[in-house]
């Protein structure tokens, strides 16, 4: 439940300038995720790319040093971006700026919070800093988004304080198949749980390794308690609309835009496709003449690293 100020407002005089306020409550943190619904969050590595993203109608940008496709090629350890680079992007745009911290690296998260980023992504795309523990996200005022491949993982992240879940997909591949697999797994299990009776919910909680109260909440509401976005491998307007029709509430597009031949029109088309995801005539219109998408990697081809396996 949201942490609310207990102080009685009625006791204050009407001239008082200072109204009691609570920052960083669950409602405030999940609230920003609500505002990003139906939108596209784009990975950017420079202020210029951030402007292209904002011009194209992105609801937020993810500031990072290398897009996942390059992290995949370069290898080595991938870390939080340089604060100077993040500040450059914050200065370039008016929309929310997100940034990534390594799994379990709560000091990177502290630094990102100090920089005033609007959302921290505790991300498997970076090299994990802790092989057992994720960040205690309740300890922060800034909200967190975390990846998940299945419902159990999503609920464990929510129980740690995540205020937005994104299906992981396989970042940097331009291949939507894993994103679809993860969305279907999460949403399929949610649908099954709504049909379960009391004793079955205990079993679901055990199987999912997730807190029972969250499983019971899903049985009641039929949805995650936080927004569910889709990420990892989306490269075309049709990919974005596919994720939305499957039940995602927004999409993250990483390498898919700035690794394509002509990023600006593709970015705009993906934004339009995300809004008009159920209208094939508009999807056909916006999909025309976008140039070559990023090349992409097939899942049967050799992946040097599988990002989706990171996170516990």
């Amino acid at each position: 439940m949201p942490g609310r100020f207990a102080g009685s407002l009625s006791a204050m005089s009407s001239e008082s300038l200072d109204t009691s306020r609570a920052t960083g409550t669950v409602r405030v943190k999940r609230g920003l995720a609500e505002m990003l619904k139906g939108g596209v969050i784009m990975d950017v590595v420079t202020p210029d790319q951030a402007k292209v993203a904002e011009d194209a109608g992105a609801v937020a940008v993810m500031a990072l040093e290398r897009v996942p496709a390059d992290i995949r090629v370069d290898g080595g350890v991938a870390r939080m971006s340089d604060p100077e680079m993040i500040e450059g992007i914050q200065a370039a745009v008016t929309i929310p700026v997100m940034a990534k911290a390594r799994i379990g690296h709560f000091v990177e998260a502290q630094i990102l919070e100090a920089l005033g980023v609007d959302y921290v992504d505790e991300s498997e795309v970076l090299t994990p800093a802790d092989e057992a523990h994720h960040i205690d996200k309740f300890a922060f005022t800034v909200p967190f988004v975390c990846g998940a491949t299945n419902l159990g993982e999503a609920l464990r992240r929510i129980s740690e304080g995540a205020c937005m879940i994104r299906s992981k997909g396989e970042a940097g591949t331009g291949n939507v198949v894993q994103a679809v697999r993860h969305l279907r797994s999460i949403l399929g299990d949610i649908r099954a749980i709504t049909q379960a009776d009391g004793p079955e919910l205990f079993e679901w909680a055990k199987q999912l390794r997730a807190p029972l109260p969250l499983v019971q909440e899903i049985a009641e509401t039929g949805k995650l308690p936080v927004p569910l976005f889709c990420a990892g491998g989306l490269a075309t307007p049709a990919d974005a609309a596919l994720a939305m029709q499957l039940g995602a509430e927004s999409v993250f597009v990483g390498s898919g835009i700035f690794k394509s031949e002509d990023p600006a029109p593709r970015a705009k088309a993906i934004v339009e496709a995300t809004t008009n995801f159920a209208d094939p005539a508009i999807l056909a219109k916006v999909s025309r003449g976008l140039g070559t998408p990023m090349t992409g990697i097939g899942m049967d081809e050799e992946l040097n690293v599988s990002f989706e396996d990171r996170g516990w």
């Binding site: 407002l9 109204t19 009691s20 409602r27 920003l32 619904k37 609801v59 929309i95 909200p143």
Partner: protein, 191 residues
Amino acid sequence: MLALQGAFASHIQALRSIGVAAVEVRTPAQLEDVDALVMPGGESTTMSFLLESNALFDPIAQRLNQAMPVFGTCAGMILLAKQILDGRNDQRCFGAIDIDVRRNAFGRQVDSFEADLNVAGFDHPIDAVFIRAPQVDRVGDSVTVLAEIDGRPVLCRQGSTMVAAFHPELSDDRRLHQLFLDVIAEERSNT
């Protein structure tokens, strides 16, 4: 319910819980079927782009000229203002209410907050959630300020237009949505 982007689903849920037949509006044809419009929170730059690409800007402006009742929250308030400060240069707004609005004036997400807010005519405060909220910098003479925080207006009305800098759809209190229904009824009886 303008459903281009943002928190439209929560608004629809809120409206339906008080008996309103709320529908999503993404196209000019869908706009023709509604009596009143709610513009949700979200990113105002994104919504400006989509209002143009979905060919909704001019039809909405025309309906607003004919006094269609409208309720804008956060980004919706920005879109309904006369002038946007700290926005993008190409960002258009409807000028449906005589206020100037400054984007993100309360700061970044770490400064977002919820507070008990006294509203004119309500017997107890509402739980108002402010997310990277805009601020009203100037209020015209014909605008009524219904609530303020630190002396800054956060809930205003001018005729059939109502705007809030915060998010009534994120709390369980339905009094502001009900107030908008009262505005609609009042405007109807006036014509």
